[in-house]
């Protein structure tokens, strides 16, 4: 074992949820409160770890300039020598940001699911297993484990939506799982092509990302006579791009998402929209771009066009929706278009903005689904014409909803504004001028459907039909919402807290894209 002595905090970040899930197995199903508390305890530990990690990163990263990786935290333990599989974890600014995002969202998610009565044990088990996968994806540097955790993050979603979901859940869950798995398989094909190519140069099989990058530097993926005259990178990159892009969700591979959002129970939607969807862009930034920078430089202009559809088309479809979860779902598609635009800009500013937006959007959308879930549990109705005037009966939720709307609309004070502006500037700087203009126009479209949603659900005359609604009254009930709003405000006022941490990763990626020939 190299690197951190003992068990690295990064390994703990994956072990803690794994152990939490394992522990849930042993709690009797009837003891729901034990399950809940055990889950909350586990996720609180992870939240603490993530905050510690963020603080460490803020302090250490300027010194870790050279490797862009936090020194002393990574560790590697070889597992299957012949195939080159090892337990390999490391964290750079991007990973830290994503781990922090996940821990924030799952913490709130556990709280929000407190009221689930039906098979609570199995629910929490699936939820925590899913999040184990997500944490794993964000800290691992081994492609085998990457794929493993990636699938681990998708499969429990099938159960979560299929058993505890609502509208059209069988169709939605089947579609979501098949779609994402197909994407993962396409990505796997790409990963394996890279794996075998690296073997040709290195002489041994390895899933270790750093070794694969070294192979890249040695010209393993270069075009040339050895490659049979074809540009290897240009052929392989789309497997990774569209495979991971399905979950991003890159237009037109997005259709699984809104339906999945709508059908899933609150905590699952929070994880799905908040975190799961970030796996795609993360994977593109973590694996696809560094391994195949020339391929990326070739294909990203295509992404620059496709993401326009995400932004505008996604927004327009949201305008036509009446179900609140669908509105938020298509809104997510639209916002993720900004992330993809930031990546496609190939500038440090744009990529930094994209990663920051992944964080900000994740928290914001988690808040959205938490709020919708809260009142949907009581009203059993989420369509705008049926709702209305709820701010009279549930003012706290109403206020939190307005905060969420403002964050989503890109109003300053919230993290989303800064990240979106960074993406827009990055896009312009990267030469994507028309795309930047469209991105700016996107904020007008966003305003339309968001204000309509707020107005339709919460404002207007008091509707006696909802007089029995109970607001989030106790501090415990209010905690998840307050927590998420506080995070959005904190990073909205002090964006530098996260931007400075992400910067080295963004700089490295931009440098790579600017000079794909050199490492």
């Amino acid at each position: 074992m190299q690197g951190h002595p003992g068990i690295s905090p990064l390994t703990w970040i994956v072990l803690v949820p794994a152990l939490t899930a394992f522990g849930i197995l042993f709690i009797p199903g009837a003891r729901k409160s034990w399950v809940r508390r055990w889950a909350l305890a586990g996720m609180s530990v992870n939240l603490g770890l993530a905050v510690w990690l963020l603080a460490t990163a803020s302090a250490d990263l300027p010194r870790a300039e050279a490797q862009k990786v936090l020194p002393g935290l990574g560790q590697k333990m070889v597992w299957v020598e012949e195939l080159g599989i090892s337990w390999n974890v490391a964290a750079d600014g991007m990973s830290v940001a994503m781990v922090f995002l996940t821990s924030v969202v799952i913490f709130a998610g556990v709280l929000v699911s407190w009221s689930i009565e039906d098979r609570a044990k199995e629910f929490y088990l699936s939820l925590i297993a899913l999040v184990t996968g997500v944490f794993g994806v964000f800290v691992t540097r081994d492609l085998f484990w990457f794929y493993f955790f990636y699938e681990l993050a998708v499969i429990p979603m099938y159960l979560l939506i299929g058993v505890w979901g609502s509208t059209n859940r069988e169709y939605a869950t089947m579609k979501l799982t098949l779609y994402l798995t197909t994407g993962a398989v396409a990505a796997l094909a790409g990963l394996l092509m890279v794996y075998f190519r690296a073997h040709a140069v290195l002489g041994r099989y390895t899933f270790d990302l750093d070794e694969i990058l070294r192979a890249r530097d040695a010209g393993a993926f270069a075009a040339g006579p050895a490659a049979g005259g074809t540009a290897f990178q240009v052929w392989v990159f789309p497997f990774l791009l569209f495979g991971f892009g399905a979950i991003a969700p890159l237009w037109p591979l997005h259709t699984w998402s809104p339906m999945g959002h709508a059908a899933a129970p609150s905590a699952a939607s929070m994880l799905h929209a908040g975190v799961l969807m970030k796996l795609g862009s993360y994977a593109i930034l973590r694996i696809a771009v560094p391994a195949l920078p020339e391929g990326a430089a070739w294909w990203l202009p295509v992404v620059a066009v496709l993401c326009m559809f995400n932004i505008v088309y996604g927004g327009l479809v949201a305008v036509a929706q009446k179900d609140m979860k669908f509105i938020v779902g298509y809104s997510s598609s639209s916002h993720m278009g900004y992330v993809l635009l930031g990546i496609a800009s190939m500038t440090s500013l744009g990529i930094n903005g994209a990663i920051f937006l992944m964080f900000a959007h994740g928290v914001m959308t988690a808040l959205a689904f938490a709020l919708i879930g809260f009142f949907y549990d009581q009203t059993h109705v989420r369509t705008l014409p049926d709702l209305g005037g709820m701010a009279h009966q549930i003012p706290f939720v109403g206020t939190a909803f307005v905060f969420m709307t403002m964050a989503s609309a890109g109003v300053p004070g919230f993290a989303n504004f800064v990240s979106e502006v960074m993406v827009m500037f990055g896009a312009w700087e990267g030469g994507l001028r028309w795309q930047a203009v469209v991105a700016v126009f996107g904020i007008v479209i966003t305003g339309v459907y968001l204000l309509r949603a707020v107005r339709g659900a919460f404002f207007g005359p008091r509707n006696p039909r909802w007089d029995g609604l109970r607001d989030a009254a106790t501090p415990f009930q209010r905690l998840p919402f307050l927590f998420l709003v506080a995070v959005l405000l904190l990073f909205g006022f002090c964006p530098f807290l996260l931007i400075d941490v992400i910067a080295p990763s963004a700089d490295a990626l931009a440098g790579l894209l600017a000079h794909p020939g050199r490492g």
Partner: protein, 664 residues
């Protein structure tokens, strides 16, 4: 005047935010405390501003009259966005307007909003607005301005839709937010265009700019920063490096933000609807400050327009058209707040027109005087609404005796608005007309427009005043004067409404030593100087106003002219004006037909093509192939043997052929 005074500016900016947080989070139930904290926030700001202004005005020869303090907010790649306070006479003047008009309005609100459910929420939102507005005022760079621009829009949305139980209020809030967003779209595109056009020029990057934080050191040129941009634009060697077309376009796009925020044509439609909000909100935001933000911002970046007459023309004409158009609509309004709203639109048009005529000082002067007398008029309207429980002037009348404070302060405000000689409005409007009459930068048609509009202004104000205060009371109740907490602010505002103009009166002070809105951005010379006082022009302006006023009074005050008969005679014209030139209908069509149409088409594509067509089609394909392949499982031994035989033959053949080819 040195950066040591920066904490005063920071306090002015953040005190209202602290008040908003306190009022919103902790004090919602403790109403008096919420109100008190908010008023305190404003008073603190007012005191700090006055002190800073005094220091700036008494600065000795050679001493700087302003300073700047900032820190880095966002830094990624080569991009840096800063956050800071820019204190110079222009920003201090505007801050004075905000806090000087804001404080009495906050106090007035204590009385006006008494008993309302959302009392605490009201003060929290109002304080949030004050913070946002001061952020625009003290902004050091374009992005910071945009940040607070959006926040002001948010505050406006929250306050217009304050009584969210009322559909019309909610719709009005939405409309304000969306129309502003359209303007913001132009604004942000302008920032992007300008930033990258300038920052990619080597000439800009090589500029030597002293760092305000470390004396003697050099700052990194930042193409968002007002000071840096001004320095670049005023350098005759550097400016030509920037493409004229790009620069002019960027300026006009930035102005789009002002079109939205200051409700200029064609984005003016949100302002009259904004009257749905509580009257003190209308007074503070939609008369004195928020809508003035566009004017202020345009003055702040006046150097971006100066070299480009085309851009200036766009500004001037949009202002002039707005001024005239709005005044015509005000002629037929029956809701007292709507009259004042259209009047505000009209006066904002004057300010914008002035800037477009290179009379930035005149524009700021009018902004200042207008803030005071318009706020006064709105608060007076609030007092009247409170007493008569209606907003329709047709149901008012006879309020002179029962409401003396309101009556007299209303007349003071009206006099200023009509530009009665000697009032503040007289001097500021005269400056604007002088700018229009200027031989170099002026414009004959716009001067004519300005004069006619002055006449219309007098007409509609006389009409409104006569119907509201004079004659017999046409309502049902017994109106009485409002409490002191509401009338004292009225008198407080009446003083500057009368006398602020004298601070700018050229003959008396030889060119505004007190009120010299120096566009003095860190040492660069003021460009937009004041104009001389022109007696003939002043008389001409007064003449038009007098004419309009007399007609208005004759029609509605003394009933010598039969207004009803004239209305019949000019019914088509009257309808056109009453329906606001059908612009609202046009925008509604845009939303209902165009926006919804495009959305429905996209949705159709999504549901039918992508989902049903592609995805479900794929799954249907898989199902179908599964079904047909299932046919192979016939259960009959004969079929299986047949297949096995056929398979064996195929494999044998393939192997033989392959080895034949692989052979020598």
């Amino acid at each position: 005047m040195s950066p040591d005074l920066a904490p005063l500016a920071w306090t002015t900016l953040f005190a209202p935010l602290a008040a908003a947080a306190l009022a919103g989070l902790l004090l919602r139930r403790r109403r008096a405390l919420a109100a008190g904290v908010s008023v305190l926030g404003m008073v603190v700001g007012l005191v700090c501003t006055l002190f800073l202004l005094w220091r700036s005005l008494t600065a000795k020869e050679g001493e700087p009259t302003g300073f700047e303090a900032h820190f880095t907010w966002v830094a990624a790649g080569s991009f840096e966005a800063r956050f800071g306070v820019l204190v110079d006479r222009l920003s201090l003047l505007m801050a004075l307007v905000v806090t000087g008009v804001g404080t009495p309005i906050f106090v007035y609100s204590i009385g006006y909003m008494h008993g309302d459910e959302g009392y605490g929420r009201y003060f929290a939102c109002l304080s949030l607005f004050a913070f946002s507005m001061l952020g625009i005022v003290f902004s050091t760079n374009l992005l910071q301005t945009f940040v607070f621009w959006e926040l002001v829009g948010l505050s406006s949305y929250l306050l217009i839709g304050f009584w969210f139980g009322r559909d019309s209020a909610v719709e009005a809030g939405k409309k304000a937010f969306m129309v502003n967003r359209v303007g913001d779209f132009g604004f942000l595109c302008g920032i992007l265009l300008l930033y990258y056009a300038v920052s990619t020029l080597p000439g800009f990057r090589d500029m030597k700019i002293p760092d305000p934080a470390s004396p003697g050191g050099l700052d990194v040129p930042n193409a968002l920063d007002f000071g840096h941009l001004a320095r670049f634009y005023r350098d005759p060697a550097l400016l030509p490096l920037l493409g004229g077309g790009t620069a002019a376009l960027a300026a006009v796009l930035l102005f789009c933000g002002a079109i939205g925020k200051s409700a200029q044509f064609p984005l003016h439609v949100w302002l009259p609807d904004a009257m749905e909000g509580p009257t003190p909100v209308s007074a503070l935001m939609h008369a004195a400050t928020m809508v003035a933000a566009g004017v202020y911002m345009t003055c702040r970046v006046f150097f971006l327009f100066e070299p480009f007459p085309g851009a200036l023309q766009v500004v001037a004409w949009i202002g002039g058209i707005t001024a005239f158009l709005a005044a015509t609509i005000a002629l037929v309004q029956t809701d007292i707040k709507k009259v004042l709203a259209y009047s505000t639109l009209s006066q904002l048009g004057y300010m914008v027109m002035a800037i477009g005529l290179a009379g930035a000082t005149a524009g700021m002067f009018h902004l200042t005087t207008h803030a005071f007398f318009k706020a006064l008029l709105f608060l007076g309207a609030g007092s009247v609404i409170h007493a008569c429980r209606t907003q329709e002037i047709t149901e008012m009348g006879g309020l002179r005796k029962p409401m003396p404070s309101t009556f007299w302060t209303w007349w003071i405000g009206t006099a200023a608005l009509i530009a009665v000689p000697g009032t503040s409005g007289f001097f500021s409007k005269d400056e604007i007309l002088a700018a229009a009459a200027d031989p170099v930068h002026g414009s004959g048609p716009l001067l004519a427009l300005g004069l006619v509009t002055a006449g219309l202004t007098a007409y509609y104000m006389m009409r409104c005043t006569a119907l509201t205060f004079h004659g017999e009371h046409r309502g049902h109740g017994h109106p009485h004067e409002s409490p002191a907490v509401m009338t004292l602010p009225l008198w407080f505002l009446a003083v500057p409404a009368l006398f602020v103009g004298w601070l700018g009166f050229p003959l008396l002070f030889h060119g505004h030593p007190w009120f010299q809105a120096e566009f003095n951005v860190r040492g660069v010379e003021a460009q937009a100087g004041p104009h001389e006082f022109h007696l003939p022009l002043a008389l001409l302006g007064t003449g038009f106003a007098a004419a309009g006023g007399v007609i208005g009074w004759l029609a509605f005050g003394t009933r010598r002219i039969d207004a009803a008969a004239w209305k019949e005679r000019l019914l088509p014209l009257h309808t056109l004006l009453a329906r606001k030139y059908f612009l609202d209908e046009f925008y509604l069509w845009l939303v209902r037909v165009v926006q919804q149409g495009v959305a429905e088409v996209s949705n159709f594509v999504e549901q039918n093509v992508l989902i049903r067509g592609v995805i479900d089609g794929l799954s249907a394909l898989v199902k179908a192939s599964g079904r047909s392949l299932r046919e192979l499982q016939t259960g009959s031994i004969h079929t299986y043997v047949r297949f096995a035989l056929a398979g064996t033959v195929v494999v044998l053949a393939w192997v033989l052929l392959a080895s034949a080819r692989g052979g020598p």
